[in-house]
Structure formats: structure tokens, C-alpha cells
């Protein structure tokens, strides 16, 4: 993984010193609260409902065990004993004291971590496929490009006061998009052109929030050497022409829609033609220098383990078999597998990990996976490089740590935002709904029967829980001071990107999980075969059968009563 050099260390140290000075000048009154706000946000410090929240950057989700132990230490020492995994592959602490923040940042700096640009109207943490570097379907590892972008975007002088936040994701797997690149301000897909050269397909203007949009193709093939200059021109056009009069219309997707993708592209090209200097070109040597940090770990030469995996799935140990079936992913190196550690257990808010769990995950990673851990945007962990022959031992250890849930990509692997329990933007609580889902459907046979289905919950229209792209999406709304929930079906974040449609009238908190159960019951009745996934059934039959399942009886009762 990437290691800081003297330059990186100096930049982060100097930033910490700068922020200390800014806090001092805020306390002396030289800076107003209004003027301080963007400074604190761009250092990761948010003001939430009850307290400050500190969001720590995890570039493209990749952590060393040393860093995970530091995150555990911070959770134990400066928070209430847990950390929270976010949907941008970051970690946040919900209860730090303002006075402790500079010390926390110093602690982070000792393990080459920071909290810069995790908030505010700037380029945020760059995200990537969580199976980067190991996926069998990958054309090229996207992480070197993420790291190049991380450096380019860190304290970029021109783009610290954009109209709104700016999110970039990169995938190197053309066949399956696990990074939701079509729902980012800029999505980058490593592709090959007809001459066999590698480059990027550049998508622009995707996003969720109030106005969900699927990213549009800004450039079908961008040669690698123009990577930074072209992205810089996109940002410049956005910075100059993006709306600043209305926060809710300020994201780049609104500009792209207003101008049309052709006019947007023309403006980008116009700027690019005059600003792409030879100096800005990305030399192959620089790509190679950064890529060297992401060289594969020293794998042992092993035989393929596909048959072994198939045996595990069907074996007598059903818990282990289910876990292998659901949480173990194929690896491009023979004899190795990737493991999803589910942080979605009944009774715990999705994405919350305790300090002891973090320490244990670090230990497990050291012993089974070269000391590396990846945070997924679905709020779980991945151990990327586990020997298939050691899976059974690893599984037993994870079960003992309460981290062995076999529910990856299943119904109870819910994505949620913090919701009204923490967030002052929220209209409704998200966590209780996810907890009820976790409890209601905590039966492995049912989960396996229903198959791959994603539920995503947001407590408000800002869509931090990505509800638009859930196969089942839930949006919390406020009706006369009460919490209600809208149900939507048919969203998907991947190559088959789609935005969910609202099923019908909003449901009360005590109705929403019943409604999900009825939707799933109808799916099980009408699917063409066990191989037809939930999303495929929804696409085939439309919303009507599900409407009837959820509202039919209500409508009938109302008719009889009337």
C-alpha cells in the first residue's frame, strides 16, 4: 500500500499546524463562526445534532493493521468505544470533544492518516472498487490512479471553494462496477480502446441526493497521460459555471443537465485545449512509481481452490458453508480468496465497530491477510488475500468475535445513514428500521432463498444511505412531526445502473418492515426461477404486483369501510 514520503509527511504536518492556528484564531474571535465553518469542515470536523463528528479519510478504503489499531485506540480514548464505517469508505467518530481534535489528528498523523477534505465543498476522499487488485474480472488496479488523484486533490488551490462537494470514484473492472461510478460527480472506468491501449472512460454528473442522476459519458476514452489535465478542466468548468444560488442545485449533475452533456463537454474541451500543458501530462514513470506501492503481496504458489470452495459451500458445517457461499469471493490468484467481514449484526447499527472488534480485525488481518484491511462503501470490511485452506479457521475466529454473519449482499446487509439519531439534517431515524430488518430476517435459509438483494436507507432526501440505488430503497420523511417512510424498488448502483421508483404512499414506522416482507413474499411467488434475482423480477414485471402486495389489502379495507 502507499507509504508516505517526506513530502506527504510535511504536507500533513504543516496542515495540522495550520488548523491549530485557525482554531486559536477562532477562539480569539479573529475568525467568525461563519468564516471558520469551511475551515473546520475541510479538516473533517462536522457539527452534528448532539456533538462534533470527526470523519477520518481512508483513501480508497485501504488500511494497514497498524492503522486499524490506531482507529481502535482513538475510539477507546476519545470516543465512546466505537467507530462508524461510512458509505465513502471512511470512518467517523460521533463523540469527540473539540479540545481533543488536534490531538486526535496528531495521533492519526503518526500512522499516515488524516481527516482533510472529508467534508466541505471540495474534492472528497477518492473511492474505488473494494476488490481492487484482486478481482478476477479486473483489467487494471485502480488504486494507483486513486492515489495520484488523492495527491492532486489534496489542497488543490483552485478547488477548495467549489459550489458543492465533489466525489470521484474509480473502477478497473469493466464487467462489474462495485464502486458505483455512475453515481459520482466524476466516475472513471479503466477501459481498453480498439488499439488495445488502456485509458479511462470519463463519466460526469452522476449522483443521488434530491435529484438522482446517472452519470453521462463526457469522454469515451481518455489516454492515461491526460488524466489530471482533463479532470482539472472538468472541475474548472464546474467551479466557474455551477450554480451557487441554491445549495440544492449546486452539484455538477445540475449543471450537466442544464447545459446538456454536449455543451458541457464542449466547455471542458475548450478549457482543456488551452490549459493542458506538457508539464501536466502524467508520465509513465510516475504511474509506475505509484503503482509500485500496490504490488501484490508475496503470495505462495498454490493450486486453484475452486473445487475446495465448492466443497465448503456444500459441506456439513452449514454455518461455514453459508458464510463461504455468501461472504467469500473469488480471487485472481490460485488458492486465495477474498472475505467480506459483515459489520451488520442484529442489535448493532450498521457500520458500527467497537474498539475491541477493530483490534481483533487488525490481529486477524495480520495472521490471515498480509495485514491489510479494506473498508467497503457498503459499510463492511474486506480481507483481500486469505488462503482458501485457512478459511475455516478464520471463520471460527470471526464467529467468536461476532463478526461472522454470513449475510454479505443479502437482505440484512443493509446500508444506512446515521439518520435522526445523530444527524441534524435527517427527517427520520434510519438505524431502528435497519435494526428491525436485521432482526426480522435473521434466518439464513430465508436470506439464501431471497438471494442477493440490497436494502438502502436514508433518513432524509440528501440520500447518504443511497436509497435511490437500493434494490429496495427506504427514505425517511417527516409528516406533521412524525417519522414516515417511502418505499422504492428497482435501484441499482452498478453497470446496470438504475434509480428506484416510489412504490406508493409513505408508510409508518410500524408498517415499513411488514411491507418489505410482503414485497419479498410476492417476489418469491412470481420469480421465474431461483436464478432470477429480485432486481430482475422487478425489472421484468414492474411495480404493479408489488403495489398490490403492499397496498392491495389496505386499499380493499378502505373500500369496504367506505
Amino acid at each position: 500500500m502507499y507509504q508516505y514520503d517526506d513530502n506527504d509527511r510535511r504536507i500533513i504536518t504543516e496542515r495540522a499546524r495550520q488548523f491549530r492556528g485557525q482554531i486559536a484564531r477562532r477562539l480569539s474571535g479573529e475568525i467568525s463562526e461563519e468564516e471558520f465553518k469551511p475551515l473546520r469542515l475541510q479538516n473533517g470536523l462536522y457539527m452534528q445534532l448532539h456533538a462534533y463528528m470527526l470523519r477520518v479519510a481512508i483513501p480508497y478504503g485501504l488500511l494497514s493493521s497498524t492503522q486499524v489499531r490506531k482507529l481502535a485506540h482513538i475510539a477507546r480514548t476519545y470516543d465512546r468505544g466505537y467507530a462508524h464505517l461510512t458509505t465513502r469508505q471512511n470512518v467517523q467518530y460521533n463523540w469527540p470533544k473539540l479540545a481533543d481534535v488536534p490531538t486526535i489528528l496528531d495521533e492519526l498523523a503518526t500512522v499516515e492518516m488524516h481527516a482533510v477534505q472529508t467534508s466541505g465543498n471540495c474534492v472528497r476522499n477518492i473511492t474505488a472498487d473494494h476488490f481492487a487488485g484482486i478481482a478476477p474480472d479486473e483489467l487494471e488496479d485502480p488504486r494507483p490512479y486513486c492515489e495520484i488523484l488523492r495527491q492532486w486533490s489534496t489542497f488543490h488551490p483552485e478547488f477548495a471553494y467549489l459550489p458543492r462537494k465533489f466525489k470521484i470514484a474509480v473502477t478497473g473492472a469493466p464487467g462489474e462496477d462495485r464502486a458505483a461510478v455512475r453515481f459520482h460527480d466524476i466516475g472513471l472506468r479503466i477501459v481498453e480502446n480498439e488499439r488495445g491501449e488502456r485509458g479511462f472512460e470519463v463519466l460526469v454528473g452522476g449522483g443521488l441526493g434530491r435529484t438522482p442522476e446517472i452519470g453521462r459519458v463526457c469522454r469515451a476514452f481518455l489516454p492515461k497521460r491526460h488524466f489530471l489535465s482533463y479532470i482539472e478542466s472538468i472541475l474548472r468548468v464546474y467551479n466557474l459555471f455551477g450554480r451557487r444560488d441554491n445549495k440544492f442545485k449546486a452539484r455538477i449533475k445540475i449543471l450537466v443537465t442544464a447545459l446538456g452533456i454536449d455543451e458541457f463537454r464542449r466547455r471542458v474541451d475548450e478549457d482543456w485545449e488551452t490549459t493542458r500543458t506538457p508539464e501536466l501530462e502524467l508520465p509513465n514513470e510516475e504511474i509506475a512509481r505509484v503503482a509500485a506501492f500496490f504490488e501484490p503481496p508475496p503470495y505462495e504458489p498454490l493450486q486453484t481452490s475452486d473445487r475446495q470452495l465448492a466443497g465448503f459451500e456444500l459441506g456439513r458445517d452449514r454455518d461455514f458453508g453459508n458464510w463461504v457461499k455468501n461472504n467469500v469471493m473469488r480471487h485472481k490468484v490460485p488458492g486465495y480468496s477474498a472475505v467480506i467481514i459483515s459489520v451488520k449484526a442484529p442489535g448493532t447499527p450498521p457500520g458500527d465497530v467497537s474498539d475491541t472488534q477493530l483490534d481483533s480485525i487488525a490481529d486477524v488481518a495480520d495472521r490471515y491477510s498480509f495485514g491489510r484491511i479494506v473498508v467497503t462503501h457498503t459499510q463492511n470490511f474486506v480481507l483481500s488475500d486469505v488462503k482458501t485452506s485457512e478459511l475455516q479457521r478464520l471463520h471460527a475466529e470471526l464467529v467468536a468475535l461476532d463478526l461472522g454473519k454470513p449475510n454479505a449482499n443479502k437482505l440484512t446487509d443493509v446500508i444506512t445513514c446515521p439518520g435522526l439519531d445523530y444527524c441534524d439534517l435527517a427527517n427520520a431515524r434510519s438505524i431502528p428500521v435497519s435494526l428491525e430488518i436485521a432482526e426480522r430476517f435473521d434466518r439464513i435459509d430465508y436470506l439464501n432463498d431471497v438471494g442477493d438483494v440490497s436494502i438502502k436507507i436514508s433518513g432524509c432526501i440528501n440520500a447518504c444511505g443511497h436509497h435511490h440505488v437500493g434494490n429496495i430503497g427506504i427514505l425517511g420523511i417527516d409528516k406533521r412531526g412524525e417519522e414516515w417512510y417511502q418505499l422504492m424498488l428497482g435501484g441499482s448502483p452498478g453497470n446496470d445502473a438504475s434509480i428506484g421508483e416510489i412504490l406508493g404512499a409513505a408508510l409508518a414506522q410500524d408498517e415499513i418492515v411488514d411491507a418489505i416482507e410482503r414485497v419479498l413474499g410476492r417476489y418469491l411467488q412470481i420469480r421465474e426461477s431461483e436464478d432470477e434475482r429480485f432486481i430482475d423480477t422487478v425489472r421484468r414485471v414492474g411495480l404493479e404486483p408489488f403495489k398490490q402486495a403492499v397496498y392491495g389489502s389496505v386499499a380493499k379495507a378502505a373500500a369496504v369501510g367506505g
Binding site: N7, G21, P38, L39, P157, Y161, R236, N239, L280
Partner: protein, 159 residues
């Protein structure tokens, strides 16, 4: 009035002339782009050192005879309105403007470093903000990753 120019505190030798206000007999006026556009030849003939003030939604391409101006002032109506950073870069990189590039309006100490990197060399701080310690802002970082108006080479070409 005191301003920061080339990282030093100096007395301003220019004078802002709002639309409708009377122009000085001599000296170095800064007029709005609208006034300049309406009487360009006259103004350029009358004042050897003329400056033009741009609103945050105006673009460098809107300014005729850019190379005959000695100063462009870019307005920051709010400190969070970041358009001026890109305008400055376009003026320097694309239009090769070499005169004084001045940030005016809601300009704060904590913006100076980024502004300078984008090509500004003069700053009128928001009234009431101390100038002395503001100069420290230029020296807060000793390394930068990106190419910008101050150095055309990204860090990877400076190693």
C-alpha cells in the same frame, strides 16, 4: 488604504471608482468592466495605468484589450464563492495576463495561500481583518502537490 502586494504590506496607489462616480483627473483608477467596455479607448488613452474590476460571474474572455490593462481586480462577493480562483488561473494560464491580479471583497487570511497559488499577487483584505499576521499565511506550506499558476510542474516533475 493598506493592501498586501507581493507578500508585503503597502499603501494602495490605485483608487476604486464605482459606476456613476467621477473619474480622477489623473492617477491609477480601477473601473468596473461595464464602464471599461463602454469607454475603452478613452479610458486607456487617459490613464496609462488602468485597472478593471470583474464581478465573480464575469469571465476573462469578456475583457477586451486585456494586455493593455495593468491590473485586474476580481471580486469575491462571499468568501465561499470560489469562482475567482478559476478566473485567476484562466487569466494567467490561458490569457497570459502579466499585470497585477488583485483579490477584492470578502478576502480572508485563510484564503491567501490558495489565491496566490492561483495567480493573485495583490489582496485587499475584508475591512477589519488584521494585515500583519496575514502574511504568515503565505508560508504555511513548504510543499505542494499540484501544478498551478505559481509553478507549472506538479510535484512529480519537481522530484
Amino acid at each position: 488604504m493598506l493592501i498586501i502586494r507581493n507578500r508585503a504590506i503597502v499603501e494602495d496607489d490605485f483608487v476604486h471608482v464605482p459606476d456613476g462616480a467621477e473619474l480622477p483627473a489623473a492617477g491609477k483608477p480601477i473601473v468596473t468592466l461595464a464602464r471599461y467596455a463602454g469607454a475603452r479607448e478613452e479610458l486607456l488613452g487617459r490613464y496609462p495605468a488602468l485597472g478593471v474590476r470583474m464581478a465573480s460571474d464575469q469571465l476573462p474572455g469578456d475583457i477586451p484589450d486585456l494586455d493593455r490593462l495593468v491590473l485586474i481586480a476580481i471580486e469575491f462577493p462571499r468568501f465561499t464563492d470560489g469562482r475567482g480562483y478559476s478566473t485567476a488561473r484562466q487569466l494567467r494560464d490561458r490569457h497570459r495576463f502579466t499585470g497585477e491580479l488583485r483579490a477584492v471583497g470578502w478576502v480572508l487570511r485563510d484564503q491567501l495561500y490558495y489565491m496566490e497559488r492561483c495567480g493573485f499577487d495583490a489582496f485587499e483584505l475584508k475591512p477589519g481583518k488584521p494585515l500583519e499576521n496575514a502574511l504568515e499565511a503565505f508560508r504555511e506550506f513548504s510543499v505542494t502537490y499540484q501544478a498551478a499558476a505559481d509553478d507549472k510542474r506538479p510535484l512529480y516533475r519537481r522530484r
